[in-house]
């Protein structure tokens, strides 16, 4: 029973007092930023990265993971109560959840979301524990050519499922890959694109890019938009426990959402966002005669997507932990965090740092438990937070981001670079270029180059090595198929429709 032994090791690590404290801190902070619209997990994790220099790797990653899934919880709370999804993954929750709140059933909606998420989180944790070891073993069979092809598949997958224009998204990836080329060449030691600036020979820090584009870029974009009117249901949250009918209606949706979310989370580019959309569509198809119609406050429309997004958030750790390949921007930051702590992400993490690996997995279950215990009673406090105006919030974000970038190398060069990327982030926003693929490309760029060059070296310059090795060929074909399928007229139409609903 390797699985049990491993999980035992994990729980031993995660139940250590320090790790519990960081899991708690992470989940609370995650919920907080999930509740506050205009501050996402990407910016928050980027903001906290400098602080993990002083932490051990395990508590640091436990805390960052807590922020990620905590944000999913917090996001659904605001979606239900004020029809403002704090996170993009809770956009669909707002449809039926807010209607339930308007009918005085906010408590039941919050409970369905919370309990559904908890169930999904438990299942997600078990899935990671069960599937990570075999995937890791598969990954050890990979050579350079396979790794390169896998990264191509990962990057293509990430944009095929993302919203917006496909060509632009691919361009953003390539731009990210190029920004990752500003460094010292690993093989020859030549400084590239550094313009004789010594700070640039170490490469651009990804914290600088993440904070500039996601942190500051978002602030500028938010400030440029007219203020929104919010209607908050603070007084009517009572009768928290759902009725028996609610349970009967909700549990099949929770099961379906969990299953769907677990599968979609593993896919590159998947994760929480896609999972919740797919689940809502599925619920509308499967539930023929809901007690309350969809769009008018059907509990299935809350329970399904909420379970799905939490399951997806959990299982998106699988490619990151086993292959070292991040499926979304948050995971890209986790990979960066590992590198900061001197851990090379990839299949060897499980054997070289078993405490970290299993401790992180176990902490997710504990964190989910904390969330459900914390959140249901504390909903009142979270709602109060919503009344904090943005004009107090954004200077605080500016200050924390600035201190964070400065303390990276105790050098103000990084601060100036961040200012540049803030400008770039706003340009991307104005030109509707999605920045998440850029971050993925940037993280994977150096790894991709190294594997490409090594593969070519081994094959004596023969490019066909990528197609003659069966595993590598399979991965590349899968990537090509993904693009072709998305280009097909009927699917293209559907895809655009789906993202229009989102907007």
């Amino acid at each position: 029973m390797d699985l049990l032994n491993n999980l035992a090791l994990g729980f031993q690590t995660a139940l250590n007092l320090q790790n519990l404290a960081y899991a708690f801190f992470g989940t609370v902070l995650g919920t907080l930023i999930g509740v506050l619209p205009g501050l996402g997990p990407v910016a928050t994790i980027a903001m906290l990265l400098p602080s993990i220099y002083t932490l051990d790797a395990t508590p640091a990653l436990i805390m960052l993971a807590g922020i990620y899934y905590g944000a999913q919880y917090g996001g659904s709370t605001t979606a239900i109560l004020i029809n403002v999804p704090g996170e993009s993954s809770s956009v669909v929750t707002a449809i039926d959840g807010y209607q339930m709140a308007r009918r005085g059933r906010a408590g039941a909606a919050l409970a369905a979301a919370g309990l559904g998420s908890f169930f999904a989180g438990c299942v997600g944790t078990i899935i990671i524990a069960a599937f990570a070891p075999p995937l890791t073993e598969l990954a050890f069979k990979f050579g350079s050519a396979e790794y390169f092809s896998l990264m191509v598949l990962g990057l293509v997958g990430a944009v095929v499922l993302a919203s917006g224009s496909l060509v632009k998204a691919i361009s953003m990836i390539v731009l990210g890959l190029l920004l990752g080329q500003v460094n010292t060449d690993v093989i020859t030691g030549a400084a590239r694109f550094s313009f004789d600036i010594p700070e640039l020979t170490d490469g651009i820090g990804f914290v600088v890019i993440a904070m500039g584009i996601f942190g500051f870029g978002e602030i500028i974009a938010n400030l440029g938009q007219p203020e929104e009117q919010r209607e908050v249901f603070t007084k009517e949250v009572k009768g928290l426990w759902p009725t028996r009918e609610d349970f009967q209606d909700a549990w099949p949706s929770v099961l379906r959402g969990t299953a769907l979310g677990s599968i979609l989370g593993v896919l590159p580019g998947g994760g929480a966002l896609l999972a919740s959309f797919a689940s809502y569509t599925l619920e509308k198809k499967v539930v023929r005669n809901p007690r309350v119609p969809f769009g008018k406050g059907a509990i299935q429309g809350v329970a399904g997507p909420e379970s799905a997004n939490n399951a997806g958030a959990q299982t998106s750790f699988i490619p990151m932990l086993t292959l070292g390949i991040p499926p979304n921007a948050v995971m890209a930051l986790m990979v960066g965090a590992m590198t900061i702590k001197g851990i090379q992400p990839g299949p060897q993490v499980m054997t070289s740092n078993p405490e970290l690996f299993w401790g992180l997995i176990a902490s997710m279950w504990i964190g989910n438990l904390m969330l459900i215990v914390l959140n249901l009673p504390l909903i009142g406090i979270w709602i109060k937070l919503l009344t904090v105006p943005y004009r107090f919030l954004f200077p605080a974000i500016v200050v924390f981001c600035c201190i964070g970038t400065y303390s990276l190398n105790n050098n103000n060069f990084d601060v100036f670079m961040t200012a540049g990327f803030a400008l770039l982030g706003y340009i991307f926003y104005k030109l509707s270029c999605e920045p998440a693929p850029l971050l993925l490309g940037f993280i994977l760029g150096p790894m991709m180059e190294e594997n490409l060059r090594r593969a070519l070296l081994l094959a004596r310059g023969d490019w066909s090595t990528f197609l003659t090795r069966p595993l590598s060929a399979g991965l590349l074909i899968a990537a090509a198929l993904m693009i072709v399928v998305v280009m097909l007229p009927s699917i293209k139409h559907k895809r655009e429709e789906a993202f229009q609903e989102e907007a």
């Binding site: 361009s171 602030i219 974009a221 440029g224 203020e227 107090f392 605080a396 200050v399 601060v415 706003y426």
Partner: protein, 154 residues
Amino acid sequence: MKIKSQRDFWSGLMFLAIGVAFAWGATDYSFGSSARPGPAYFPFGLGILLALLGGLVLFKALTLESEGGDPIGAIAWRPLLIIILAITVFGLALPRLGLSCTLPLTIVLSTLAGREFHWRGVLVSCVLLTVGSWALFIVGLKLTIPLWPIYFTG
């Protein structure tokens, strides 16, 4: 020729320019051969690829009809310039003036980027954030950030 989508037109141009710049810059380094790829091999290929993709976006922006021309819309100059100024001032001031003076400066500046500005609220934020950052970053996380202006401590 008429631009059918403003946003795509400018993004295409941006990708094209950056791609060409990177590919051109890469010619300074040794290209190697495909059997022994040099430092320029990967960035040169990527630069060309980005330029091609940019060209494709540009082509689409000039040929495919989009809703209402897809305009870029008003640029939020005020928040944009003030936030960037605030970051730059922070970077310049921190090594010289220390955390105690730099933070209030940054907070006052960045608050100006918003719509409302009330001195009382700003002062409260300044005190709270400065003391909080000192407690969190210097006392708690033990980061080596100067606290007072170097002119005081000599």
